[in-house]
């Protein structure tokens, strides 16, 4: 059940009405309804994985309590590592086992040794990377005594399984979401209205921007050996907007609908393509994941403390692991590694925290320079996205090589029966709208909001891509 599906359009109002009109008496009844709705929502993908979700929830709930209750450090450590081990073990089995087994077999064959690895015939449970990370952060925080364990199983389950964030984040923290789960929510008109705006804008990003870009990006990436240089450049740009529209659109819908239930989720995107360097980009892209890795991996490794070589090591570890989190493929590892390379010059020159605020322009030379930096950073991001989108590293390298060697920058007719340049106007319009609203979470609120809502609805209806239905990219992670 996707957020942009008709079934969800029925599901959401039913849950909303039940939540505020039937189950609104106590916090417990509200939470119980949301849990039931979340489990139903999750079972719509594959009910068998519901057991995995419940198991993962119970594991972290129980180990969290054991860690807190026991004063003996050895026993605390035991429960801590048991939780970490099982959580990562589940991820390893479902997400990474086949990759490691087949990569090892390839390595052996390179040395002339034949092997037929045992591969698991399993489907990746949707959202496993997200809810596993919820649980991990919770257990780690308890172990380091940053938070108290949650003793109410329903409340804890809701923190892990809350349907707006269950399958593609944002990756929530117990410190942020649990306190909201622990109190009875009362209806707040302004918050709900803001949520509706955010949901509509997320839908625009998904069906108008992401899905339309996808038809072009697919036509170009899937046939890159026949594409000219101009098409290949556009293919990378279209994919950049596809993945941005897709994931930030999903996040906006998640945040928006959560507000309808009176709860705020962590912001996941903050106009990343207006970043002036790659460090700023990573503070604005998939913020909940970046900050997760910062807090639970980068800082424990030493972060930006210690010698430069240690800092460089930490940067490479966090980016490569972040790439690997996205999927069991060398292309994601390469994507993470490339981003680490981009980050390196900033780190070595201590410039990685120089663009902390949203860009503001004036009519002067400094602003012109900032614009150039934005374009440069976007170009770097697009180059890295090629690795993210390509089927293999070889394909990505050949794609990039062809951009520089093919040399033809004319318009080209694609397999989606469109010319390669046709989307540029729509993307330009989207960028202008985002730019003008970069200090807000969404562009629909404020002055003339009804006109803007009408235009957004018109865009969804008239400009959306529906016949070639695409699911959200991040569901596969």
């Amino acid at each position: 059940m996707f957020f942009n599906s008709l079934t969800f359009a029925v599901f959401l109002p039913i849950v909303f009405v039940l939540y505020w009109f039937v189950f609104n008496k106590t916090k417990s009844s509200q939470n119980l309804l949301l849990i039931l709705a979340s489990y139903y929502f999750y079972s719509c993908w594959d009910w068998r994985f519901l057991f995995l979700l419940v198991f993962s929830t119970f594991l972290d709930y129980y180990t969290g309590i054991q860690i807190e209750k026991n004063k003996n450090e050895k026993i605390r450590k035991f429960w801590f590592w048991l939780s970490i081990g099982i959580n990562l073990g589940l991820l390893a089995v479902f997400k990474y086992y086949n990759f490691f087994a087949s990569s090892f077999a390839t390595l052996l064959s390179d040395f002339g040794l034949k092997s037929s690895p045992f591969l698991l015939d399993v489907v990746l449970p949707v959202g496993i990377s997200f809810y596993t990370f919820h649980g991990l952060s919770y257990v780690i925080d308890i172990y380091y005594k940053r938070i108290k364990a949650e003793y109410n199983f329903v409340d804890y389950s809701l923190f892990v399984s809350y349907f707006p964030l269950l399958v593609a984040g944002p990756i929530e923290r117990a410190t942020h979401l649990l306190p909201q789960v622990k109190i009875k929510r009362t209806f707040d008109y302004e918050k709900a209205k803001q949520g509706a705006y955010q949901f509509i804008w997320g839908l625009v990003k998904k069906v108008v921007i992401a899905d339309t870009c996808a038809t072009y990006a697919n036509a170009i990436f899937d046939n890159y050996t026949q594409m000219n240089s101009w098409s290949l450049v556009l293919g990378a740009v279209y994919f950049a907007f596809q993945i941005y529209g897709d994931f930030s659109g999903y996040s906006a819908m998640a945040l928006g609908m959560s507000k309808l239930f009176g709860m705020d989720l962590l912001r996941n995107f903050n106009y990343p393509y207006f970043s002036r360097d790659i460090a700023e980009f990573w503070r604005r892209w998939h913020i909940s994941l970046s900050s997760w890795f910062r807090d639970y991996l980068y800082i424990p490794l030493g972060g930006s403390k210690g010698s430069k070589s240690k800092q460089v090591r930490n940067v490479f570890i966090i980016f490569v692991v972040s790439g690997f989190w996205h999927g069991a493929n060398w292309t994601y590892l390469a994507w993470g590694f490339i981003n680490a390379l981009y980050f390196l010059p900033l780190l070595l020159r201590n410039k990685n925290r120089s663009n902390m605020e949203m860009v503001q322009l004036q009519w002067n030379f400094a602003s012109a320079k900032e614009i150039l930096h934005i374009f440069y950073t976007f170009a770097l991001a697009c180059l890295a996205w090629i690795f993210f989108r390509a089927k293999s590293i070889t394909d990505a390298v050949l794609y990039i090589k062809r951009i520089f060697t093919e040399g033809n920058f004319s318009s080209q007719y694609l397999t989606n029966e469109r010319y390669n340049y046709e989307l540029l106007l729509m993307i330009a319009l989207f960028v202008v709208v985002e730019w003008n609203n970069r200090f807000k979470e969404e562009p629909l609120s404020g002055k003339n909001s009804w006109l803007k809502v009408a235009l957004a609805i018109a865009a969804i209806v008239a400009l959306g891509t529906y016949s070639d239905y695409k699911e959200f990219i991040y569901f596969q992670f």
Partner: protein
Amino acid sequence: MKKFLLFILKISIVLVVVAVALDFGFTTIYKQSKSRGKIDYVFNSSARKYDVVILGSSRANNHFVSDLFEKQGLKTFNYGMSGGHLFEASLLLKLMIERKYEIKNVILEADLNLSNDQQSEGVSAKYLPYLHSSETVRKHFENEKDFNELYYIPFYRYLKFETRIGIRETFFTAIQKKSKLILNGGYYSLGETKGNMKNNITKLKPLPHNKYYEEIKALCKANNIHFIAIMTPMCENVTGMNYFDKVHKAYPEIHNYENVVVENKYFSSCGHMNDEGARLFTNNIIHDFFKSKK
């Protein structure tokens, strides 16, 4: 909460108003169109006179060379539609009759398309802008399973078939961008580039009473149009060629011209002849059905 429910109600009203307005706008544009494809070319026309009208799928569109008929003094238009089924061909003929076309002969390509009486959504979508403007179109679609959604939900048809009648096609229609589909008397020639030169049609079975084939036949009879049904050629490497015998058995009146052109050099893909093959084939048809009568 009341305030929010009112807010949601307002958004719902905006959604309906936007959908109705867009539906009206798109439909108005399609009702002016005469040059984007064969369906609007017929729908927005008045009486035309033809000696020969050709109907069918791409195997009609790419195989009957209108110019060769014209050279014989036969005013001809090839209304074959790539990807189309008999569902769409039948409706096109109904619209021609409704517009008082004077037609002497209808040549219907009837072979592989006899195996189903479903609509071809990609082609039939082009009729949908006229769903509310034509009783004929409405009646033709009314037994289709998604008719109610298409008919009653404003803009749903444009949204569902956005690749066919969505914003892009509407824009091209509005600026009256010419399409190649109605040039050369509707005939679309294929080049030498070889597509798949193998085909397996063993699973295809002609329906014993194809609803839309019978409908076309009946329409011709009722309007004194000479009806000629023809099976058209396929390449050498086809498995299941007895399909054409089955067609002949079920419909003895269909003329079997499948083996008139055989060699692969006359084909662009297994089911479609190139221009040279199409000319060879068309000359045979003209010779057998028209020259002999003159």
